[in-house]
């Protein structure tokens, strides 16, 4: 049919299928800014357009319904003045992070401004109520909306400058526009899906219906005979190699325990076969025609089941060690049927007891410490599986170009993708190029090679371009989740609150494969125990295989769960001792000059060593929070409001609801690392171009975090230029030098430092060239603003020097190179304060206030750093209050949709949400910077749990703190909950 309508004020006549939805039509015509975050479920709002003046989801509108209507969508050349104001305000308010949601957010603000030129905060929340963003935490959208409103009246209005740091620098410590923000806001091609050509083949995967089964046979003959089908792969014709999908430095501390298609499926949704076809519909149809015969096995669906003697074995193949010996007493002989497991070195595993990894360590004499305590408590805390839910699911576009495999990837780890894919495909690394496109959110899930292996192999073997994008449902059940963990903490203290001993045991559920099976649970220990000074501390970590969904990396690794257990237990101990919980923290926390002994046994892949802490800002952070929360006043605990806010349309009847809502406060201290000292490495190169501008080649992977802006600022600062003078190319394995990737909070610290070293190297070379040209010593020359190179005998422009050198004079082209690796550990610290209302009648928890006082060293770009923190906290709030992957008694995921896995929307943001940066410079970090993002996830769960206790007097030791869990803890709901993994 022919559709006539107006698009951005221009008449259009397009042919379309009557059943097509408007989103697909717009995308097929090149309007790539109309995104897809939920596959047409209607819950993400990323496909929004404005139709006849109303903000609507285009995935739920038939293209045919747009007949005769006017549609506004984001296009790079859109001229709508209101839209342009909205986009510019989002950029200026620093809320373009990954940018996948930005066009939709721009349209929502544009719609709001048209209706209400001076909107209240409530109106802004309402305007964005249907748009999900997983990066920003929504808070800065409010600033953007109010900024846009002011610009409606005064087009030149500038946002009031935020706090600035480091007065001696022009760019460092000041807010600057994120280098990719404009393109992302305007809807320019940036993501993997924007690169796909019409001749591409489409890949779809058949997931296992069983949690645990041998694949006995696969009959793909009918599928292969179907129209459009190019290839079908499965366990009997895929490469016979085991590998890990964990994007970690080689040799990885994760077992190589996965084939492209395993002989034994190990979770519901595990890969059984894949179809490559000319269209998605043909690929899907062919999947349905594949016949698979299974030998169904009993599944292991909890840590308790995994541990039980005689439990079914998730992995029963041979166990091989590349270096070192199998731990004493463990079994390595396989059953001859299952795939083998290769450990690069021993990590305390015994797969034939379902134990994927284990570790232990400690300092002092823990038993003696408990003996000296006046009070000892032991508690078990549980944190469930949560999903990263990047708004852009896993996606890759693979093709063969010039006899090489080229992967356009949405990844955090370009070089690990290259290494792993080259081994799987069986070609050397020089035959593989990985181009990291803009990443629509990663959060750890994209530290794994989830889609690149199959797509790469199929592109290489067929020679055809292959597009593979997870559905939202697949993203839920077959992506990577944070490990569920049961953490038992035993703590002893003297009457005055001084800790005498801590014993911590972590049981982690790594699911069917062992990606990050040691590193994630170890972070539960290594980012929580070192916050407290205790001479006697011990930990054990066991990581168990189960047949639930695949665990992996998630922002913070295991730290949020360890932080929950340690901080909540400390607060419980304070209550037992009758001491205020912040006094208890104060008594035992690390401070400037502390020698952190426990780090001897927490080496993270290398020999550990005690660390003498330099300056620590926790004292000031706690003081600021105490003041803001009136901590020492009378404000804590007790009844609050009358009636129930759940009643709608009610009159002022005071039902018997008095005092249902109770108010409580909680506070915690948190820490993280800044990359992995001794393990991580980053490199950067900066070329001085002939006109005096810079091309910065950074290995670092910007996932929307602003890393490219950090590196650009670094180069601009050192070379006396502005950000427009620096172009950053990053994460492309052909063009840019090696970088370990973006994980473990390493971006600013490692990749930023590499860029700094490259800039310094370039500066040295420029000064030498200038010295030659000016005929004076380099020590008398300096680089001034706007690329001025000022000597005592004269002045040059960077362009003058570059022009001469690129032409081969003097030193030849000037290129700075920087490589960074360190043994130094830089810890950011923070204090997080929460205030909640708890309804003791309904179990509901409302997060009213959340304050973050955070040290990230020098904030390179303060507003972007705050955006990272707002976003991290809101993820943690989601995990604490709403989010949990649920499984039935057969291991099937019950809530693989945004309709039933509820992530926070703008309405869940606490009304008083504050981030204050309290910088304590690090001597090694670039300009004194440390990491910022992961730490922000460590505070919400324990702070909220403590606040709930403050309000109600009950401890809830399992999160998310759903109304159901609250009611059970309050003794209002009888029974112990239902069987299986349901709440």
């Amino acid at each position: 049919m022919i559709l006539s309508f107006s698009l951005n004020g221009r008449p259009r006549r397009w042919e379309c299928e009557p059943g097509a939805n408007l989103r697909d039509l717009l995308r097929s015509k090149g309007l790539i800014s109309v995104r897809n975050g939920c596959d047409g479920e209607g819950s993400c709002g990323l496909c929004a357009v404005i139709m006849d003046g109303k903000l609507v989801n285009s995935c739920m509108i038939l293209a045919a319904e747009a007949e005769g209507r006017s549609v506004i969508a984001v296009e790079p050349d859109a001229e709508d003045p209101l839209l342009i104001i909205a986009q510019r305000s989002l950029i200026d308010a620093h809320c373009v992070q990954c940018g996948y949601c930005t066009p939709a957010v721009s349209l929502a603000l544009r719609d709001l401004l048209a209706r209400s030129p001076e909107p209240s905060d409530e109106e802004v929340r309402d305007a964005l109520s249907g748009t999900l963003c997983r990066c920003t935490g929504y808070q800065q959208f409010l600033d953007a909306a109010h900024l846009a409103s002011k610009r409606l009246r005064d087009p030149g209005y500038a946002l009031e400058a935020g706090p600035a740091f480091k007065p001696e620098f022009r760019h460092i410590g000041k807010d600057r526009e994120k280098v990719d923000a404009r393109g992302l806001a305007r809807g320019e091609a940036a993501f993997v899906e924007d690169r796909v050509t019409p001749d591409s083949l489409h890949l779809k995967v058949l997931g296992s219906p069983h949690a645990h089964a041998f694949v006995k046979s696969v009959d793909a003959s009918a599928a292969l005979a179907m129209s459009g089908v190019v290839k079908v792969i499965h366990t009997f014709n895929c490469p016979d190699k085991v590998y890990t999908t964990a994007g970690q430095g080689f040799p990885e501390p994760s077992p190589h325990d996965q084939r492209m298609f395993s002989r034994k499926v190990r979770f519901v949704g595990d890969r059984v076969a894949a179809v490559l076809a000319e269209s998605p519909a043909e690929a899907r149809a062919a999947l349905a025609a594949i016949k698979v015969e299974y030998e169904i096995l009993e599944p292991v669906l909890s840590i308790a089941q995994a541990k039980a003697p005689g439990a079914p074995l998730v992995h029963s193949g041979e166990v091989v060690y590349v270096a070192g010996e199998a731990p004493a007493g463990t079994s390595t002989r396989g059953d001859g049927r299952d795939d083998s497991i290769t450990y690069q070195f021993p990590i305390g595993a015994d797969p034939h007891r379902n134990l994927a990894a284990s570790a232990h360590g400690g300092i002092g004499d823990v038993e003696a410490g408990f003996a000296r305590a006046d009070v000892v408590i032991e508690r078990t805390y549980r944190g469930n599986r949560v999903q990263c839910t990047p708004m852009e699911p896993h996606v890759v576009y693979a093709k063969v170009d010039g006899g090489r495999l080229v992967l356009h990837a949405s990844t955090q780890v370009s070089w690990h993708v290259r290494r792993i894919v080259s081994r799987v495909v069986g070609i050397p690394e020089n035959k593989v190029r990985v181009i990291k496109e803009r990443v629509g959110g990663g959060f750890g899930a994209k530290q794994d090679i989830v889609v690149e292996d199959i797509a790469g192999w199929l592109a290489w073997t067929t020679g055809k371009p292959v597009f593979f994008r997870y559905t939202r449902e697949e993203e839920f059940f077959a992506s990577r989740t944070r490990h569920a963990m049961d953490i038992t903490v035993k703590m002893g203290a003297r009457r005055d609150g001084t800790l005498t001993a801590i014993d911590m045991h972590v049981d982690a559920d790594t699911g069917p494969y062992g990606q990050h099976c040691l590193t994630v649970p170890m972070n539960a220990v290594s980012k929580s125990l070192p916050l407290l000074i205790c001479p006697n501390a011990r930990f054990t970590v066991d990581s168990w295989y189960t047949n639930l969904s695949v665990a992996g990396a998630y922002q913070g690794y295991g730290a949020p769960k360890g932080s929950f257990a340690i901080q909540a237990c400390l607060a419980e101990l304070a209550v037992e001792l009758g001491i205020d919980q912040l006094e208890m923290i104060e008594k035992n926390r690390v401070r400037s000059g502390t020698r952190i002994e426990i780090l001897k046994s927490l080496g993270e892949g290398r020999e550990g060593a005690a660390v003498d802490l330099g300056e620590c800002g926790l004292g000031e952070m706690i003081e600021r929070g105490k003041k803001a929360f009136n901590w020492d006043g009378t404000g804590r605990g007790g009844p609050l409001t009358q009636g129930s806010p759940t009643a709608q349309g009610g009159a002022k009847v005071v039902a018997a609801g008095e005092g249902d809502w109770k108010r409580g406060k909680g506070a915690v201290i948190v820490q993280q690392g800044s990359g992995l000292p001794g393990l991580d490495a980053a490199n950067a190169e900066i070329r001085l171009l002939a006109d005096g501008t810079l091309l910065l080649l950074s290995g670092g992977a910007d996932l929307g975090t602003g890393l490219d802006t950090v590196t650009a600022k670094t180069a601009a600062e050192i070379m006396g230029l502005d950000l427009e003078d620096v172009t950053v190319i990053s994460g492309d394995t052909d063009l840019t030098p090696f970088d370990k990737g973006a994980y473990a909070s390493s971006g600013t610290y490692f990749s930023g430092n590499a860029a700094l070293k490259a800039a310094e190297d370039l500066r040295t070379k420029v000064l030498a060239a200038a010295a030659e040209m000016l005929g004076e010593d380099p020590s008398t020359i300096r680089i001034g603003h706007r690329g001025r190179v000022i000597g005592s005998k004269g002045e040059l422009k960077l362009g003058d020097i570059a022009h001469r050198t690129v032409e081969g004079e003097g030193f030849g082209e000037l290129v700075g190179f920087g490589s960074f690796k360190t043994l130094h550990a830089a810890f950011p610290y923070g204090a997080h304060f929460a205030e909640v209302l708890v309804n003791t009648r309904t179990g509901e928890v409302k997060l009213e206030r959340f304050h973050v006082y955070q040290d990230c060293g020098t904030p390179i770009n303060p507003a972007l750093a705050k955006g990272q923190i707002f976003g991290g906290v809101m993820k943690a709030v989601g995990h604490s209050l709403y989010e949990e992957l649920l499984f039935d008694e057969k291991g099937r995921c019950l809530n693989p949709t945004f309709l039933d896995y509820k992530i926070p929307s703008i309405n869940e943001v606490p009304r008083d949400f504050v981030v204050e940066l309290v910088p304590v410079e690090d001597e090694i970090g670039p300009f004194g910077a440390k990491s910022v993002s992961e730490i922000s996830l460590n505070g919400a769960a324990p702070a909220i749990a403590i606040a709930i206790h403050d309000a109600t007097g009950v401890w809830v030791r399992e999160y998310p703190f759903t109304p159901e869990r609250l009611l059970r803890a309050l003794g209002r709901l009888p029974g112990a909950g239902i069987k299986g993994k349901l709440p």
Partner: protein
């Protein structure tokens, strides 16, 4: 999945299309999708012809496996809110957002519409579509059923909503809703309460109550519950349990609904699912019922929103 799109010119054509009379003008030249094989709409014979309103259900992934021939109601079914005497007449194509924006919509209905927090959905989802979808988590059915509204169908019939919901769910049986008629009822009180997990969520549980108070005694209670059965419906046995009681306080209501020990009386049975255990849902529903009854206020056919109702 939509396989054909019809845009009837008038009500007669729409009714003919939905009654399956294919020779109706326009029916033959309906825009039909090609099947995946490109050879014409595969399986079109088995496609169901359904009225299409806002499409938030029919065009969503929820309907992915349903082959649909969509019959667009836009322009045929009114999109308006008006007063006729003491009655409020709402066009079935009125969206949730328009309900909220209209000062003539009774506060209790506007509040129920506000329960759909997602603005993008509110801009499309219609009253008629909400009744047509007939979901357990419907925001509007509990209130409209408690208020005992009438439906005016496009074929001229006038049916009580309560009776309409019992008709076979095929369009042939239920027809097309054109308008909803709500009368202001002297002496009635009505209230509504819902529970959802986050703000932009379905009404996982919802309860609406309408009743009269005679000398503080409950009379003629109409209690509609959503989220505890396949559809939002009245629970007559529970209603009867209140008849003639002095208005109970909330713990008495909760005890009446789920028993003092929370063991659950047999008025409704819920299931364990990803949204909560059966025990939790029963408990929570009891609280909602108490709130719906105790927060009830006099029925208003429509007035400017009051502070409490806004």
């Amino acid at each position: 999945m939509t396989v054909a799109f019809h845009k009837p010119r008038d009500a007669a054509e729409a009714l003919a299309l939905l009654s399956g009379v294919d020779e109706a003008p326009g029916a033959d030249d309906a825009d039909r999708a090609k099947g995946a094989d490109g050879k014409g709409a595969g399986g079109i014979k088995s496609a169901r012809r359904l009225p299409l309103a806002g499409g938030t259900q029919l065009n969503s992934s929820e309907s992915r496996n349903l082959a649909v021939e969509a019959v667009a109601l836009d322009g045929l079914v009114p999109k308006s809110v008006e007063r006729q005497g003491s009655a409020t007449i709402i066009g079935a194509m009125t969206t949730f957002q328009e309900l909220i924006d209209s000062p003539m919509v009774p506060p209790i209905l506007a509040a129920a519409a506000r329960g759909m927090v997602d603005r993008n959905i509110r801009n499309r989802a219609t009253v008629g579509g909400n009744l047509g979808a007939d979901k357990s988590c419907s925001s509007l059915i509990p209130v409209l059923l408690a208020l005992d509204v009438d439906l005016l169908l496009l074929d001229g019939r006038r049916v009580r909503l309560e009776d309409w919901l019992e008709l076979p769910s095929e369009p042939k049986g239920r027809g097309i809703i054109s308008k909803i008629s709500m009368g202001g009822r002297e002496g009635w009180l009505s209230g509504y309460a819902r529970w959802s997990r986050v703000s932009a969520d379905l009404s996982v549980l919802g309860a609406a109550a309408a009743y009269r108070l005679e000398r503080n005694t409950v009379r003629d209670l109409r209690l509609v519950l959503g989220g505890v059965a396949a559809h939002a419906r009245r629970f007559p046995a529970l209603e009867a349990a209140f008849e003639g009681l002095p208005l109970p306080d909330r713990s008495a209501i909760e005890a009446l609904v789920v028993g003092h020990d929370g063991s659950g009386a047999s008025y409704f049975s819920t299931i364990d699912d990803a949204r909560g255990s059966a025990a939790f849902k029963s408990f929570r529903m009891a609280v909602l019922i108490a709130d719906a009854i105790l927060f009830a206020k006099p029925d208003e056919a429509g007035s400017l929103p009051t502070e409490e109702g806004a």
